[in-house]
């Protein structure tokens, strides 16, 4: 499932832009590829990231995968609930399974993100 109100990346992150804040998570396709998620390692609040940096790490039964920062900026909030209930990423990847909020430092980068149509194309949906 690809939602129409979000941006996407080739690495299967989704981004919701609200003013100068970006909410980041992994897509429904990504969670179904990973399978049951066991642990999530989130960045420290206050950390500055550049687009393409490793933002978080997701450990599933099958494999461990990095989640990349879709945009540059400062981490202003992380979803603490994931440390005890990472499985919500499997159940609700676009809602309760959100991972990190970033204060966007370079709004132009938003133009580099994939549209829902581009992303559907990427995953062959």
């Amino acid at each position: 499932m690809v939602r129409d109100d979000l941006y996407y990346t080739k690495e299967h992150e989704w981004v919701k832009v609200e003013g100068d804040t970006a909410i980041v998570g992994i897509t429904d396709y990504a969670q179904s590829e990973l399978g049951d998620i066991l642990y999530v390692e989130l960045p420290d609040v206050g950390k500055t990231v550049s687009a393409g940096d490793v933002l978080a790490t997701v450990e599933a039964v099958k494999a461990v995968s990095d989640v990349y920062a879709p945009l540059s900026g400062e981490v202003i909030e992380v979803n603490e609930a994931l440390s005890t209930t990472p499985e919500v990423i499997n159940k609700d990847p676009y809602g309760e399974g959100w991972m990190v909020k970033i204060k966007i430092s370079n709004p132009d980068e938003v133009n580099q993100l994939l549209s829902p149509a581009d992303y559907r194309n990427l995953i062959g949906e």
Binding site: G35, D36, L38, V61, K62, A63, E87
Partner: protein, 485 residues
């Protein structure tokens, strides 16, 4: 679940009867101070001998092992381990050795180590070796540390190591532990190293490239000599992960195609028990220019005697307690000598033939994402089964119902829903055909009766395990269970 020994014990029941003491009994406190005497329970289960025997025999039949059946776990080379190797390793002269025994009293053991090292160098076309590393990943680390020492001696420790995206997960871990940064390059459309993707990284910062050959898709890196030349032109080294040496014995020597350092997995290629069945051993062989940096001691032959040589000033030091997994060395040595050069070549030819025969039986029933003639193993994809709601995991679980161990699944990462199948040379044509029949039946079931796959296994002593719970809340000992009550 079977009962634990603790759950069947009965107060006062014992499994041994000691003879009457021929000397007068003394109170323990006559000889030991009170504070050193145990007053609580000794903490061993109180059971009779038949209870123990049945307990462990019943446990053992719940497990799958290569003595019970086909075990095509890709990249692990689960070949049958000849029992004569065990008998030789259990000879009292080997079994009861103390690692600190004087050299003069262990000449036979040292000779075995020296000769095994020579044979392994010969097999790989290498010049020098250390037998210390405990297994594959430890071998990678040791090999990379050796290369690092070499670069340091050249005055530039360098910064990066390139790995293909099909590499074993231990490769990037070993690189980071050695103090370098792993750089992943995408494989070409044929599943091999893409020379164009490598080119931008060829500079003075590049320490090495790590490659498994044949790679984890079971495909031989035919451009390997070219890769080696490109690396050597900028002073970088070629490290080979020898996990798949079972495809090369007597056919190709890594030293001839430009490899500077490689590790062997004695427990895979040279047939010693592994995967819970025994310790591993990961000797690292190198070319002459790296020899002085290998771990110490190494076994040397000097004035008619064998010695452990510690006098190696440029060595990176010891990487293992004592001298390595000696019992495994005995088994590997016995295996190599039993087969000889011709026999080893036939091992690899048999492994490649079995793998290609099995692929021929399966290819019209499953997807083969990288369509190149494989060596000793091949990787199928179960991606197309998703339309029936079936995952590769379900196929793997269903195979257990047929009495087979599942292949490696979900690896390498570049194949979606991967099934990595390595039959090895020790399986008969009939067993390979039986496995293929089971795979084909499962393919049919996925279409016609997917529920039977989703609920598999049905016939095993233990049904499908809750992997999430096992990972998040591992209960590994009696004490964990007792604590949970």
């Amino acid at each position: 679940m079977s009962e634990l020994l603790w759950e069947i014990e009965k107060e006062g029941r014992i499994g041994t009867k000691l003879p009457e003491s021929g000397v007068p009994q003394r109170e323990i406190t006559d000889d030991l101070p009170e504070r050193m005497v145990r007053r609580g329970k000794i903490g061993l289960p109180q059971v009779a001998e038949p209870q123990i025997v049945r307990h462990f025999v019943n446990m053992s039949v719940k497990n799958h092992n290569v003595d019970r059946g086909f075990y095509p776990l890709g990249s692990c080379t689960m070949k049958y381990n000849p029992k004569i190797n065990e008998r030789l390793a259990a000879l009292p002269g080997f079994l009861n050795l103390h690692p600190l025994a004087p050299e003069s009293s262990v000449q036979g053991a040292l000779k075995l180590m020296a000769h095994l090292g020579e044979l392994l160098c010969k097999i790989g076309g290498m010049d020098a070796i250390t037998l210390q590393p405990a297994a594959g990943a430890h071998g990678e680390f040791t090999g990379l540390m050796t290369i690092r020492r070499y670069h340091e001696a050249q005055g530039n420790p360098r910064k990066k190591v390139v790995i293909p995206d099909s590499s074993h997960g231990t490769n990037p871990a070993s690189i980071v532990f050695t103090g370098w940064e792993p750089v992943e390059i995408k494989s070409g459309p044929d599943g091999r190293i893409d020379l164009e993707a490598l080119k931008p990284h060829l500079n003075e910062d590049l320490a090495a490239l790590m490659v498994t050959n044949p790679n984890t898709l079971g495909i031989f890196e035919k451009d390997i000599k070219r890769v080696a030349d490109m690396l050597h032109d900028v002073g970088a080294q070629l490290y080979m992960d020898g996990a798949n040496m079972n495809a090369l014995l007597g056919i190709a020597r890594p030293g001839d195609f430009g490899v500077d350092a490689l590790h062997y997995n004695l427990h895979k290629t040279f047939s010693t028990p592994h995967g819970g069945g025994g310790p591993g051993s990961g000797p690292v062989a190198v070319k002459e220019h790296l020899a002085e940096f290998l771990p110490k001691p190494v076994v040397v032959h000097r004035n008619g005697e064998y010695h452990l040589d510690f006098d190696r000033p440029n060595s990176l030091g010891k990487v293992q307690a004592f001298w390595g997994a000696f019992g495994v060395m005995v088994k590997a040595y016995a295996y190599i000598l039993t087969l000889g050069a011709d026999g080893l070549r036939r091992v690899s030819e048999g492994a490649i033939l079995n793998s290609n025969y099995l692929l021929a039986l399966l290819r019209e029933h499953y997807e083969l994402p990288y369509d190149a003639t494989p060596m000793h193993e091949f990787v199928l994809s179960g991606e197309f089964l998703k339309k029936y709601g079936i995952k590769t995991l379900d196929v793997a679980k269903r195979l257990l119902d047929f009495g087979f161990h599942a292949p490696t699944i979900y690896f390498p990462l570049i194949v979606h829903e991967a099934l990595m199948i390595e039959p090895t040379e020790t399986e008969s044509t009939e067993d390979i055909e039986k496995f293929a029949e089971a795979m084909i039946q499962i393919r049919r079931e996925a279409e016609e009766n997917p529920e039977i796959l989703k609920e598999a296994p049905h016939n095993t002593p233990v049904r499908r395990l809750d992997e999430v719970r096992a990972n998040k809340n591992p209960v590994l000992s009696w004490w964990d269970i007792a604590a949970g009550e």
